[in-house]
């Protein structure tokens, strides 16, 4: 279970980033989330490196070492394919997702950055109450190029193993 699509990680001892870096990375995520919440999916893949790795899975899979994902992409191109398919081919009821990130931790990692944090997604379907749709954590890697951050890897592990029908938009 350690092929190209595997995200089994060993937890190295990482050093917490400086206050300034923490603040800047927090700002990056705030922008990232605003962009998704506003539905600007076309711009979303640009927040990743070309050779990025993106994966949403569940605790069940992550803990058992299974490489299956809910969504998996091995390049910014695949992210763009997902967005395009979402726009042009998928059929789903209208809804809004609103993402709440909390507990962001930022670490130095060989010139790059690693982050950890929690994510809560509230879903609102037409004429229905807003409700908790997904809850989980993320483990990301970022690089900083010319003052801008880009995601090299984003791994989201959902506590929510029983998906409320569908997971439509990226997280």
């Amino acid at each position: 279970m350690s092929g190209a699509l595997s995200t089994n990680v060993d937890k190295p001892q990482l050093r917490m980033a400086s206050r300034d870096v923490r603040a800047d990375v927090q700002a990056f995520y705030d922008e990232y989330i605003a962009l998704l919440d506003d539905g600007e999916f076309d711009a979303w893949p640009d927040l990743f490196t070309k050779e990025c790795f993106y994966r949403i899975t569940t605790r069940e899979n992550a803990e058992a070492g299974y490489d299956l994902s809910l969504i998996c992409a091995e390049s910014a191109g695949m992210l763009r394919d997902r967005v395009r398919a979402l726009d042009k081919t998928m059929m789903f009821g209208p809804r809004s997702y609103r993402r709440f990130l909390s507990g962001l931790r930022v670490f130095y990692d060989n010139g790059g950055i690693q982050t950890r944090g929690n994510l809560l997604v509230i879903e609102t379907l037409v004429d229905k109450p807003s409700q908790v749709a997904f809850c989980g954590r993320f483990e990301d890697k970022l690089i900083c190029e010319g003052g801008n951050h880009l995601l090299e890897k984003r791994l989201i592990v959902l506590d929510t193993e029983m998906i409320p029908n569908s997971l439509i938009y990226p997280l």
């Binding site: 394919d81 081919t89 998928m90 029908n165």
Partner: protein, 416 residues
């Protein structure tokens, strides 16, 4: 009008099927009394329900929680070559004692009073059965042997495990029938299976709508724009719909083509000739089975769909949760001897399936839309006349024959 009038407000007890057999009344999807009868006659009745895979429990003591209807079931490797399954319900006062989805156990203990069961489901220990200091305890005539867990009969074929509570259920191969057995054993051919992972979704729609959806050869090329656009499934491709002799099981067979705009695609609104993949690895296909078909979607009534779409293989278990919803459990698999490249291919293609699948998300959504309409239109009927009124195997897709087949059997077993 005086106050002495008594009004009889009947519950919904008398149900008459529409005159035309190719109609399905909406109340089969919403009526709780119908649903209760389904649990009794279908899920508890003479049918095999999918439980899981041998590969999920390779070692003695390995177990998984699974289900039959609304019942929680423990499937366990009780011995090197024995798989046992029993209801997760303590023989004492009924607690659903096993709470972890998977694990390895040498025995099962109920936490309430620590009654202990063997891996075979036999009652092995009752604390203080003889009392303490000769006071209390179980009656002399209490017989542990007749107070074990409620077991299922088991069928193991091609790496899959099925179970039934009924003595009347025929052998699994007879249950499938020779035609469906042949299709079944194409993918489940004796090669050892390997689990790649799980997806779980709760779909707020009646469980039969998912069976219909997979038996519905008319929809894939229309609903799933991703399919039609990339030639994975289109109405003009070589295809077939087959059933067992009584219509309860079915398969939808197809052979993928290429992305192309033609007469057929032009009558598909969802077709988008412009669409290109930027990273084509997601659709990198490797033909791995002897027959030319690229899609084989089997429905084993009432509980499972066996998916083979290009290189993506999975089982999709249906666990009903009331008349208006079901849990849908996907187990993605490969073969134990797959190359790493083949495993990656399967994992990549999994992007099309499951609750976030580029294709499958559509299905969960559309049947939710159907259930909403059914709940608000009690007099409504579904029209299943595509391909005529008859039930029979076809070598084309533009038909609802397999849905008609299922409901012919359903009416029989349900007495409707």
């Amino acid at each position: 009008m005086d106050g002495s009038h008594i009004a009889e407000i009947p519950g919904s007890s008398a149900r008459r099927w529409p005159a035309r057999a190719s109609r399905v009344p909406f109340w089969v999807y919403t009526d709780e009394a119908i649903y209760t009868r389904e649990l009794e006659r279908i899920f508890d009745g003479p049918h095999w329900s999918y439980l899981g895979m041998e590969a999920e429990i390779p070692q003695v003591g390995d177990y998984r929680l699974t289900g039959v209807g609304e019942r929680s079931i423990i499937m366990v490797r009780s011995d090197d070559d024995t798989i046992t399954a029993f209801e997760n319900k303590c023989a004492h006062r009924g607690a659903r004692f096993c709470r972890h989805k998977r694990g390895n156990a040498t025995e099962f203990a109920c936490p309430y009073h620590q009654w202990v069961y063997t891996l075979e489901g036999e009652l092995q220990g009752v604390p203080f059965r003889r009392g303490v200091k000769r006071k209390g305890g179980m009656p002399r005539d209490f017989d542990p042997a007749s107070n074990g867990l409620r077991k299922l009969r088991i069928a193991r074929e091609g790496g899959l495990v099925f179970g039934t509570f009924s003595e009347a259920t025929p052998d699994f191969r007879d249950y499938l029938g020779p035609r469906m057995w042949e299709h079944f054993s194409r993918v489940y051919n004796g090669r050892e299976l390997k689990v790649l992972g799980y997806n779980r979704q709760h779909i707020p729609a009646n469980w039969k709508l998912m069976m219909e959806n997979i038996k519905d050869s008319y929809h894939p090329g229309l609903l799933h724009a991703f399919f039609s656009t990339f030639g994975l499934f289109r109405a003009d491709q070589e295809s077939a719909v087959e059933m067992d002799d009584i219509g309860r099981h079915g398969i939808l067979i197809s052979r993928k083509g290429e992305k192309e705009a033609n007469e057929v695609s032009s009558s598909i609104r969802s077709f988008d000739a412009e669409l290109e993949l930027e990273d084509e690895r997601m659709l990198d296909y490797d033909h791995e089975w002897p027959t030319p078909q690229t899609v084989g979607m089997i429905t084993v009534f009432p509980s499972v769909i066996l998916q083979q779409q290009v290189n993506s293989i999975s089982t999709r278990q249906i666990l009903p949760r009331g008349a208006d919803g079901f849990d849908f459990i996907w187990t993605h698999i490969g073969y134990a001897d797959d190359t790493p490249e083949m495993t990656e291919r399967r994992l990549r293609q999994a992007n099309l399936f499951g609750p976030a699948g580029l294709v499958s998300a559509d299905d969960g959504e559309i049947i939710e839309f159907s259930q909403e309409a059914f709940a608000s239109a009690p007099e409504g009927e579904s029209l299943i006349e595509m391909g005529g009124h008859d039930i029979g195997n076809t070598d084309y897709m533009i038909t609802e024959t397999a849905i008609r087949g299922m409901y012919a059997y359903y009416r029989e077993v349900m007495g409707l």
